[in-house]
């Protein structure tokens, strides 16, 4: 058993939870083999990063251009939204624009994937994305906390986002019975959930995090949210004069569509069946090779074509994204071919299934974990 997969039955003091290994994931690798695996992943990364050039730069600039045209076009059409075809087309265009900006553009730029271009307008230090969540707070909770502690229960707050029980290792609480509803609410208002994520309410409650720090963050969120709400729900409707209602409804629908889509893609990243989660002890003295292994085992891909790739911000390649968070997303598909081959070579799982299957298993998990775990049952 490799160091990364040691089990520990004492998850919380006085509340032992047994989390049996499924046995469907044969990771019987020696330490030497893990190091070799790590070296091959490293080599793949170096090779791809060294080959970045004009084609890649052209890709992101093109995506940004398309997104902006879609946004301007969508908003323009919504001004004529009193006509149903214009409203439908306008809302669809604006929804796609918001999805592109959130995923393929914003999330990836903020990861520093395009910093190598040295364009200050397309840079992780300056990009502010089109949601109510301040970029700076996102970069802390996501780039740092989530990507470093991926799927370590108790350290990666993306495991459940502080409100859902998404791992057998999380102790059950009666409040979890309501989790199908909480889940639906989170999906509907996803951008707000994301915005409040870095506040770390539970740490404020426990006293670990100062109220002053949380308040400063809340003010920053308020400022960003104010501008976003002002733009979508006040200014643009006002500009439409008597035809404000289609604009308002169109903007609301586009935000909702973006929320639901991003929620679905993101929840398919680390929750589908077959994805591993870990305990803090599992990552003691973790080196780079084991970090790569944990990233692989703790993530899942969504199989699909180029359209799915771009609309999911290439999180259809969640495993590759977790192995190489700062690799430009347009290269993930290329990396995937080799990652798959490396996994086969080392007998590692490569979890890639169509969207409906991954999402289906996530929804089943939400339902299943809303109830207390039955002892000694393997994860379905």
């Amino acid at each position: 058993m490799t160091a990364a997969l040691k089990m520990n039955s004492n998850f919380l003091p006085g509340n032992p939870v047994e989390a049996p290994r499924t046995g469907r994931l044969p990771v019987g690798l020696t330490d030497a083999e893990v190091q070799q695996f790590g070296a091959e992943i490293d080599a793949l990364r170096q090779r791809i990063m060294a080959s970045l050039g004009e084609q890649d730069a052209r890709y992101i600039r093109r995506v940004i251009k398309v997104q902006r045209y879609l946004e301007v076009g969508g908003r323009g059409l919504l001004f004529a939204g009193i006509l149903p075809p214009a409203w439908l087309a306008g809302t669809a265009m604006l929804s796609i624009a918001k999805i592109l900006e959130n995923m393929e553009i914003g999330h990836n730029i903020m990861h520093g994937q395009w910093d190598w271009m040295r364009d200050p307008n397309i840079h992780s230090s300056s990009w502010e994305w089109d949601t109510v969540c301040p970029s700076e707070q996102w970069q802390h909770s996501h780039n740092y906390m989530h990507h470093k502690w991926t799927n370590v229960v108790g350290m990666d707050r993306d495991v459940g986002y502080g409100i859902l029980r998404m791992s057998e290792r999380q102790p059950w609480h009666p409040a979890h019975l309501a989790q199908p509803i909480t889940n639906a609410m989170l999906a509907t208002f996803f951008q707000w959930g994301v915005a409040l994520h870095d506040l770390e309410f539970e740490r404020v409650r426990s006293g670990e995090k100062s109220l002053a720090e949380a308040w400063a963050q809340l003010k920053q969120i308020g400022k960003k949210a104010g501008k976003q709400v002002g733009k979508d729900y006040v200014l643009f409707p006002l500009l439409a004069g008597p035809f404000f209602l289609p604009v308002l409804l169109g903007n609301m629908s586009a935000n909702l569509a973006r929320n639901l889509w991003t929620y679905m893609i993101i929840f398919c990243g680390h929750f589908p069946d077959g994805v591993e989660d870990f305990l803090p002890e599992d990552i003691e003295n973790e080196d780079k090779a084991h970090w790569y292994l944990r990233q692989l085992l703790g993530s899942a891909n969504i199989s699909g074509g180029r359209l799915l790739n771009v609309m999911s911000g290439n999180l259809s390649h969640q495993m590759e994204h977790h192995l190489f968070p700062d690799m430009p997303s347009n290269r993930y598909a290329e990396a995937a071919i080799e990652v798959r081959a490396i996994c086969e070579k080392y007998g590692l799982p490569y979890n890639s299934k169509p969207l409906h299957r991954q999402f289906g298993s996530v929804m089943r998990k939400v339902l299943r974990l809303s109830l207390p775990s039955r002892k000694a049952r393997s994860k379905a």
């Binding site: 170096q46 990063m49 970045l52 050039g53 004009e54 084609q55 890649d56 730069a57 052209r58 251009k65 902006r68 045209y69 301007v72 903020m110 990861h111 520093g112 910093d115 190598w116 271009m117 040295r118 364009d119 200050p120 307008n121 840079h123 992780s124 230090s125 502010e128 994305w129 089109d130 970069q139 802390h140 780039n143 740092y144 990507h147 470093k148 960003k224 501008k227 976003q228 002002g230 733009k231 200014l235 643009f236 780079k288 970090w291 968070p325 700062d326």
Partner: protein, 345 residues
């Protein structure tokens, strides 16, 4: 209003869709490309409304995207004084192995959009009464002086000009015909020394005395490669006339750093200096020096620790790559000093 509609992006980001010059920041569009020699090309650039103008002898920084990466280089304005609403010209000579100069020579076309920085520099003619002038240039160092010659011609100011220009051969003797014409019209002395094809000597005290006997009475402007700059600086200093000499210094090429060698790390804002080993992340160097830079994962993946590099180069410990140009943002948690560096920390 535009800001509220465009938030969180700048309104210019949308205007850029209509016309690239309306995009954010100072930028310009190439309007004309003139080939001056096999290796040099002049680019007439129309800047956008952010342009503050420039004087002959000043230089602008051009931001050029080569293979997806933006590089900044300094080029002198060769067209003369440039007002706010006017175009200006730079003349770019392709340096062997030079990324930007080669790209501009091969790929710049009318319509190419370049990023710009405002004109800076004090290698300029005095605005008041003109003294007797002596220009000494070599190779592409002629560009700022060409700007000055054209500016003088444009204003019709009376001037006593002697110009010594060194180039290897006639093909690389930039603006030869134009300078001959200007010299004839304005009664200036224009001397071309062809060091390779005609075996003319490089700069020396004797040569200067022979070409321009009253050099000590002239305001001298020198621009060229390091060798010329050093010789002229020495010569004027020995004569005790250093204040009469003005030199244009382009950014020197960085010396290649031996593998693994660190250097002195200077923290610009905090006013501290520390020794940076070639394999020690700058984040640790900073922390040991008593600073507390922002950081996150400490493994190079979250971009929380980005700091601007002011001078010097760094080594990315995850890849071994040595890189860095002034203005680059580097991840200090995985980069170590590769030679002396100055960080904006």
């Amino acid at each position: 209003m535009g800001q509220w509609l465009a938030t969180p992006v700048l309104p210019e980001a949308y205007l850029e869709l209509i016309n690239p010059l309306l995009g954010p920041g100072l930028r310009g569009r190439v309007e004309r490309v003139v080939r001056e020699s096999e290796q040099a090309v002049s680019l007439e650039i129309r800047p956008n409304h952010h342009w503050q103008g420039g004087r002959a002898g000043q230089y602008v920084r051009l931001g050029v995207d080569v293979q997806g990466v933006r590089h900044w280089r300094c080029y002198s304005i060769s067209s003369g004084d440039a007002g706010r609403a006017e175009t200006f010209t730079v003349t770019v000579r392709a340096i062997a192995g030079g990324q930007v100069s080669t790209w501009l020579n091969q790929h710049a076309r009318p319509g190419t959009v370049l990023m710009l920085d405002q004109a800076v520099g004090d290698f300029c003619l005095p605005s008041a009464a003109l003294p007797k002038l002596l220009f000494i240039t070599a190779g592409s160092g002629i560009t700022p002086v060409m700007g000055m010659l054209r500016a003088l011609a444009a204003t019709g100011q009376a001037a006593d000009v002697v110009h010594l220009h060194y180039s290897p051969d006639e093909q690389n003797n930039l603006f030869a015909a134009e300078r001959r014409g200007l010299a004839l019209s304005h009664n200036w002395k224009n001397l071309n020394l062809l060091t390779r094809s005609q075996g003319d000597e490089h700069f020396s005290a004797a040569q200067l005395a022979a070409s321009c006997s009253d050099w000590a009475e002239r305001s001298a402007y020198v621009c060229g490669p390091a060798g010329l700059m050093e010789s002229t600086a020495d010569h004027w200093q020995q004569a005790g006339l250093s204040e009469q000499l003005k030199q244009e210094n382009f950014r020197p090429l960085l010396a290649p750093v031996a593998a693994g060698v660190g250097g002195e790390v200077r923290f610009w804002h905090s006013n501290r200096i520390a020794e940076g080993a070639g394999n020690k992340p700058l984040l640790e160097v900073a922390e040991e020096a008593g600073l507390m830079p922002k950081h996150g994962c400490r493994m190079g993946i979250c971009q929380s620790c980005l700091v601007t590099l002011k001078e010097g180069q760094v080594r990315d410990l995850t890849s071994g790559e040595v890189f860095g140009e002034s203005g680059d943002m580097v991840r200090i948690c995985v980069c170590a000093a590769a030679g002396d560096v100055v960080l904006e920390l």
